[in-house]
Symmetry: C3
Subunit: 316 residues, 3 copies
Amino acid sequence: MKSFLSINDVENLPELVKDALEIKKNPHVYKDLGLDKSMCLIFLNPSLRTRLSSQKAAFNLDLNTAVLDVGSQGWQLEFADGVKMDSDKAEHIKEAAAVIGSYFDIVAIRAFAKLENREEDYSEQVMESFKKYCPAPVINMESGTGHPLQALADLITIEEHKTVEKPKVVLTWAPHPRALPQAVANSFSKWMQAAGFDLTITHPQGYELVGEAVGNASVEYNQKKAFEGADFVYAKNWSSYSQYGKILSQNPDWMVTANKMKLTNNAKFMHCLPLRRNVIAEDDVVDSENSLIIPQAANRIYSMQVVLQHILKELK
Amino acid sequence: MKSFLSINDVENLPELVKDALEIKKNPHVYKDLGLDKSMCLIFLNPSLRTRLSSQKAAFNLDLNTAVLDVGSQGWQLEFADGVKMDSDKAEHIKEAAAVIGSYFDIVAIRAFAKLENREEDYSEQVMESFKKYCPAPVINMESGTGHPLQALADLITIEEHKTVEKPKVVLTWAPHPRALPQAVANSFSKWMQAAGFDLTITHPQGYELVGEAVGNASVEYNQKKAFEGADFVYAKNWSSYSQYGKILSQNPDWMVTANKMKLTNNAKFMHCLPLRRNVIAEDDVVDSENSLIIPQAANRIYSMQVVLQHILKELK
Amino acid sequence: MKSFLSINDVENLPELVKDALEIKKNPHVYKDLGLDKSMCLIFLNPSLRTRLSSQKAAFNLDLNTAVLDVGSQGWQLEFADGVKMDSDKAEHIKEAAAVIGSYFDIVAIRAFAKLENREEDYSEQVMESFKKYCPAPVINMESGTGHPLQALADLITIEEHKTVEKPKVVLTWAPHPRALPQAVANSFSKWMQAAGFDLTITHPQGYELVGEAVGNASVEYNQKKAFEGADFVYAKNWSSYSQYGKILSQNPDWMVTANKMKLTNNAKFMHCLPLRRNVIAEDDVVDSENSLIIPQAANRIYSMQVVLQHILKELK
């Protein structure tokens, strides 16, 4: 693996998941891969799980890691070519990416969607510019349109808990008080389909994901109907793609409840966290035996670690 | 040791101090304890000594450590059960503690008293919730009502410098321009008594510590009388417990002076730092040969290291 | 080397540069120097290259490093003697430096000029106070008046690319929208002269550097004339020393252009970054084959690493 910006960078998905499960059994035996290598984690936005699971994955590999937080003060990077840089932007992405990539063997970046301009967010300017100008491999720790490390952790979790070869997976929109990016939903949809699972996406009218993410998934506007026979229910809020960044509904009827879960095939419940209890899902669902949210979050370690290992192997 | 929230978690105090003094002689020989283990330091409040001495203790043990600062942006955690989380709190302590505890072998937390609501501060909500929901051992890096790592460092320092078996130790309130928590004073009082020392607490009327912290210590409102025959004078400001969080006095007569120190049995001077010179104590006291403030701060390394070692031994 | 505050701490400059170039060939073979040693990086101001290159140099040496950011919240240190500390300054430099120096084997500090009071900035209060009260060696990561780690990286870069023994080096002022310190220019001038190079400094009237930094360099107010025959052109903005901290000119005629570079002896172009394109220098210069800005930034690793190694050798 050269870089890890999206599922397009994965050559063999079943092998990646198999390797992750193998790593999970004995995470400390691959330290030779990290020897004399180092990584930089760049956060343009806040992070809890991604930050800590990435550091833990690096610990497991003896991979030295520097963390750069540029969210609070802002990092005034210029991305345009030929500009006279006499305003607030002190550095061009060309130099920033080239320098950081000359210091470290791997560079991982988080840069959220701003939800102001769809074309800008979906152009993936930060991620694509780093890929272009940074000589080191780049890892996406959640970008404007995708969160592939989360989707890989989700896939690992489903592989561990599925009881049939091709489970029915339901991605359900759920209400939330704030406007959230589509990144997690986009990546989840793409990865589930790439894994060959039977994916149904359910949400109110107007919350359709970008066509590229929907792919061949079934879209069902009746949540209860969608839940029928589900093996996994993945809840997530996102803001509208068509009326970009807007909250079109906060209808509490879309909350995942224990009653709705009864419609499923004894489905496991998943969410990427943080989870607003009794808004996204009822306590009874979150705390049920079928809730996978904690092991799912724990798999973020192995999702990052397997990506690091595949990249480090190519650097040897 | 399973966790380290207060002196109640210490099974054998003399042994803990003895082990700390042993570690101090040769701090780098216990690295096998840190092998393949990792720790997360969570700061809900600023920290200088605690942050750096904890990292240094971890370095001595080859214990990989991630630092999470959640003070500046705030960490909007929900602690109540059954709440509909539709306001500013994005994550429930149940998930936050469970996830961090699934990533790391040890979790250490700092969460100051807010000095607004006594019952809330003394309920130790953050510390107790982490202990409840975090599967990993939890270490208190200063909580609403206690600072046991400081008290242990204080005890180590006194053990190193005492010339009699049971020295007379005086904890004296001293003035300060801001309202400070009672955490350091509470823990110091408990630990000195647990160590079997002869403890006198002196402060103006209204600054009585919580009864549980006072225990069997002598309380003396006449500071000069309290100093008579003292082997150690420990200065510290705290705000009122009875008129909770209030500053009742800034009387400069309570400053520790060289003249007052003459009343003692050539007492050593101690303070947990940071110390406001010529407010808490005169320069002549702070800079005197009897001042232990720097070696006392240095012992914060061994206070943390011995706690880590006792916890890591149980994890093996 | 005991500390590294300025070029005055360098005993043998050619040897230091030779060692740096040797380290660069095989940076991971000196790890025994870092064994059981640790460092603290203290940032009173933001940092990208210095922060990351210092951490990378430490990784290369297996030198455990704690990073302390005190810029955002401010670090209210008292520097004056005998003061009654009853205002906003919570800690005296005497304790802060003594404690941090008791925790770590090396302490590195960044503290920018405030550009408000020349005497205050040029007194180097932070750096000198740490040197005085900190028992551990101190490294200057950019102070009020100098940036010796940058100058050493610059010198390493010139040594790698020079084609004559004593190249003609031109330090040229260039315009910038904000008032910047003189630290980089001061150190560059001193180090180039110490290396025995032929240094010309060119800038508009009123931008004369402090006499101690100018030394025996040629000062030429005609930029084009200065460029004639240059082997290296080093661009940098700084604010006025005589009218302290003021911007006297933003004249775009001082920008480094491809046309001006034609006046040189096919000179290499250098800048310490971040660089405002088409303000400091044209894209055509920055992106030309003769631009050394990225390898120059990469040499920050070896500049820090050689200083660390010289200090660590004395600690053994």
